[in-house]
């Protein structure tokens, strides 16, 4: 891990190396049987199948892998990771690709990243999720203003959405965790 902060070393790294450093998964382990894509519930919504994203990384086509919408469409259901005959944790591999894509600023689905950021912003500030703030920030960030306008009032009257966040006591601890995680 001492090489982690070495910028020069990082420049020479391939995407496959970076994934291995981040997750311990060697992308060459996959022998392309396609079982992951066969069972993937979101495959029908993807242009590039999950096993093909692994292939792109194996071939050193790093940009194509990072730019594929597939990494953002993965629902994290773990069906692939469970069924893989090589014990290749593909869901974790997809998460690593997103994390690297974010660091490199290559974001194919900006709306999905904005959702995650809006969610995490509430955790960082309050220590807990806060749906009203999440939806407000997400809508403002994506201009997707009218989705779920029919459900929102009912959520409110059922007491499922509150107008003010519940804050935990030790918010300093959470702030420190976020600061350190973002520094890496």
């Amino acid at each position: 891990m001492s090489s982690h902060s070495n910028a020069k070393h990082k420049e020479r790294m391939t995407l496959a190396d970076e994934i291995e450093e981040l997750t311990g998964i060697n992308p060459l382990k996959c022998y392309q049987c396609g079982k992951c894509s066969a069972g993937c519930p979101v495959r029908i919504f993807m242009k590039v199948s999950p096993n093909k994203v692994v292939r792109l990384v194996q071939l050193g086509l790093d940009d194509e892998a990072l730019k594929s919408e597939t990494i953002w469409m993965c629902a994290g259901c773990l069906t692939c990771s469970t069924r893989c005959p090589q014990n290749f944790d593909l869901a974790k591999f997809m998460d690593a690709l997103k994390e690297i894509a974010i660091k490199k600023g290559v974001i194919t689905r900006k709306d999905i990243l904005k959702f995650h950021k809006a969610f995490l912003k509430q955790i960082e500030a309050n220590g807990k999720a806060f749906e009203f703030g999440l939806i407000r920030d997400y809508k403002l960030a994506t201009f997707n203003l009218f989705q779920d306008m029919d459900i929102a009032p009912e959520m409110f009257f059922k007491g499922k959405i509150k107008l003010f966040p519940h804050k935990i006591k030790n918010r300093d601890a959470i702030k420190k965790i976020f600061d350190k995680a973002n520094k890496e």
Binding site: M1, L22, G24, P41, V42, I44, F45, M73, A75, G76, C77, L78, T79, S81, T82, N87, D89, D95, K98, E99, I102, R109, D111, I112, L113, F115, H116, K117, F119, L120, I123, G127, K128, A129, E131, I135, Y138, Q147, D148, D150, I151, M155, K158, G159, K160, I161, K162, H166, I168, K169, N170, A173, I174, K176, I177, F178, K180, A181, N182, E184
Partner: protein, 294 residues
């Protein structure tokens, strides 16, 4: 019996009926839930999809809180939180370097000895005879589909719970109420999870398939143990019926609500009025079906 309790964020908001029914049912069954003091979010999908360290450190903070508060086990009813906790524990156990970095982040010793218990496991621990003795209604002839979704059973090498492809443990609990679990195909299929807002079409397609398969196999309700599954199948069913005029409403009940019904608890205390898809067809069926006590 005392056990630590981590409700998770959903159970304080969108899934408050899950929390309500759990507290009510376990108090009835003599279990004392000790809520983890000052618990914080597990990070959910948004953490693990964007920052691996964060996704391990957020559950780790709660694990070390549990240790300090003298809890040996925590019951985590949300399948998504449950999964984040067991994965974080597993990763820290397997990777001492990661554990050390997490300890620097949380400024505490990271604890991997705390036991994590999911919703189905909680009911498995309770003496079957006690549930049967406390039962006020036999939900006889009530056909239900036990839906596990993704995160209770996968990845099985880490959760070590039931079977990843063909789990049956929830059915065993359901049978205690007299209800009849149906044989169906979609018990471990994904509902679309966190795509509910960003890719609603994905959720509507996947959730509709799940509901349709349950209906085709004779289920009158789907039983869940995850607030995310519930919100996609229950709340998003509104959007599904808007797209498909033939769609017939399928009530979606939490496992704790089903047990609560059989214990004779009323609609209000179980929060059954807080669903988006009407639960009245279930309630009216069992309003008078009191079990004959010998």
């Amino acid at each position: 019996m005392d056990i630590g309790y981590y409700p998770g964020c959903s159970l304080t908001g969108t899934a408050k009926e899950y929390d309500q029914s759990i507290r009510r049912v376990f108090s009835e069954l003599g279990i004392n839930l000790v809520e983890l003091d000052d618990w914080s979010c597990c990070g959910a999908t948004s953490a693990h999809a964007t920052n691996h360290l964060l996704s391990v450190a957020l559950p780790a903070r709660n694990l070390s809180l549990a240790k300090k508060q003298g809890l040996k086990e925590i019951f985590i009813p949300c399948a998504a939180c449950y999964n984040r906790f067991v994965v974080a524990k597993y990763e820290m156990e397997k990777n001492p370097g990661l554990k050390k970095r997490v300890e620097e982040m949380i400024e505490e010793k990271a604890d991997t000895d705390i036991g994590i218990v999911n919703m189905v496991e909680m009911f498995q621990r309770i003496d079957k005879e006690l549930i049967l003795a406390k039962r006020q209604k036999e939900l006889k002839g009530f056909k239900v589909a036990a839906y596990y979704g993704c995160l209770l059973v996968r990845p099985n090498s880490i959760t070590q719970f039931d079977d990843a492809e063909m789990p049956t443990s929830m059915e065993e609990i359901i049978k205690l109420t007299g209800a009849e679990p149906v044989d169906w195909n979609f018990k471990v299929e994904c509902c679309g999870a966190s795509h509910s807002i960003t890719n609603m079409n994905v959720v509507l397609t996947l959730s509709k398939r799940i509901i349709d398969d349950a209906a085709e196999n004779g289920a009158e309700a789907i039983i869940v143990a995850c607030p995310m599954c519930h919100s996609n199948l229950d709340m998003r069913q509104r959007n599904i019926s808007k797209q498909d005029s033939q769609h017939k409403n399928m009530p979606i009940l939490y496992l704790s609500e089903l047990i609560g019904l059989s214990l004779g608890l009323d609609k209000e205390s179980l929060g059954l009025g807080l669903h988006f898809t009407d639960t009245e067809p279930v309630l009216s069926r069992f309003s008078t079906a009191i079990v004959a006590k010998e």
